[in-house]
C-alpha cells in the first residue's frame, strides 16, 4: 500500500481540498479528486521531503498574529512611500542577517513572512553560513532590522520547528 499512498495525510488533504473547492460530493469529482490526490502523493514522494517537526501551537498562534499585524502596518508604510507622503529622503538597501534557524520548513516559513511583508524582500540565503540577505525598501537602521527579524520571527520559528 505504501507505493500507492506514500503520503496518506497529504493525499487525504488534497482530496478534501478538491471536493471543498468544487463544493460537491458527486462520484465524478471524487474519482477526479482521488486521481489528483494520488498524483500529488507520488510527486511529493519523488521530491523526498525531509521530515517536518512542528510543535507549540501557542507559538504558532503568536507568530500568526504578529505577522498579521506587521503585514497591515507595512502595507500602510509602503502605501505612504508610493504616494509620496512622509516627505523625508528614503534609502533602500541590503541587510545581512546571520540566522540560527536551519530547519528547511522554518526557513520556508520565514521566506513567506519576509516576502509577504511589503517593504522587505528575501534576496538570498547561504545554507552553509546561515547568512540571510534581505532587501529593505525603507532602510533607516540596519541593526534595527537585525533585531526585529531575529527577536520577533526567528525566536518563534525556532520554538515551532526545532
Amino acid at each position: 500500500m505504501t507505493w500507492l499512498l506514500p503520503h496518506p495525510l497529504a493525499s487525504a488533504v488534497l482530496l478534501a481540498l478538491w471536493l471543498l473547492l468544487n463544493t460537491t460530493m458527486s462520484a465524478a469529482h471524487i474519482v477526479l479528486g482521488s486521481a489528483v490526490a494520488l498524483a500529488g502523493g507520488w510527486a511529493l514522494h519523488a521530491l523526498e521531503p525531509p521530515k517536518a517537526r512542528i510543535g507549540r501551537p501557542g507559538a504558532i498562534l503568536r507568530l500568526f498574529s504578529l505577522v498579521f499585524a506587521d503585514i497591515v502596518r507595512s502595507n500602510v508604510a509602503v502605501a505612504r512611500i508610493v504616494l509620496g507622503l512622509g516627505g523625508r529622503e528614503r534609502t533602500s538597501g541590503f541587510v545581512n542577517i546571520p540566522l540560527d534557524l536551519r530547519d528547511p520548513y522554518g526557513l520556508a516559513a520565514l521566506a513567506c513572512i519576509i516576502t509577504s511583508t511589503p517593504g522587505t524582500l528575501w534576496v538570498k540565503h547561504d545554507p552553509l553560513t546561515g547568512m540571510l540577505t534581505i532587501h529593505v525598501l525603507d532602510l533607516i537602521d540596519e541593526g534595527d532590522w537585525l533585531r526585529t527579524l531575529k527577536g520577533r520571527y526567528e525566536r518563534l520559528l525556532l520554538e515551532i520547528f526545532e
Binding site: T23, V72, V82, T115, S116, T117, P118, L121, L137
Partner: protein, 117 residues
C-alpha cells in the same frame, strides 16, 4: 439573474467598502511598480496587492456569501493562503535573476576597466 436584492443593506455596504478598499490598495501597489526607480525597489509595492489587497477582497467575498448562505466560505481562506505561500517562489526567482545579472555586469565592468589599465 440578479440576486443582490436578497441581501440586506448593511451587508451590501460592508461588501462594497471592502472591495473598494482592496482594489485601492492593489492600485497603489501597481502604481508603485511604475513609480519606483530601481528593480529592487520596484518589487516591493506589488506585495500590497498580494497581501492586504487580496485580503480585503477575500473578506468582502466572505461577508457576501455568508449572508447569501449559498456555500461554505472556506474558499477565500484557502485562496489567501495559496497566494501567500506561492508569491515567494516567483519573487525569489526574479530577485535571484536580477542578482545574477548585476554580478555578471560588475564582473564585466571590472574586466573592461583592467583591460584599459
Amino acid at each position: 439573474m440578479n440576486r443582490t436584492a436578497d441581501i440586506p443593506a448593511w451587508a451590501e455596504i460592508v461588501t462594497a467598502a471592502l472591495v473598494l478598499l482592496g482594489a485601492t490598495i492593489t492600485l497603489i501597489g501597481a502604481f508603485g511598480l511604475v513609480r519606483m526607480k530601481t528593480f529592487y525597489a520596484r518589487v516591493h509595492p506589488p506585495t500590497l496587492g498580494t497581501t492586504l489587497g487580496t485580503g480585503c477582497i477575500a473578506m468582502a467575498s466572505i461577508v457576501y456569501f455568508s449572508v447569501l448562505q449559498t456555500r461554505p466560505v472556506l474558499h477565500e481562506v484557502l485562496l489567501v493562503l495559496f497566494v501567500l505561500v506561492t508569491t515567494p517562489v516567483t519573487l525569489m526567482l526574479l530577485v535571484r535573476a536580477a542578482l545574477f545579472r548585476d554580478e555578471a555586469k560588475s564582473e564585466a565592468g571590472e574586466a573592461s576597466s583592467s583591460a584599459i589599465e
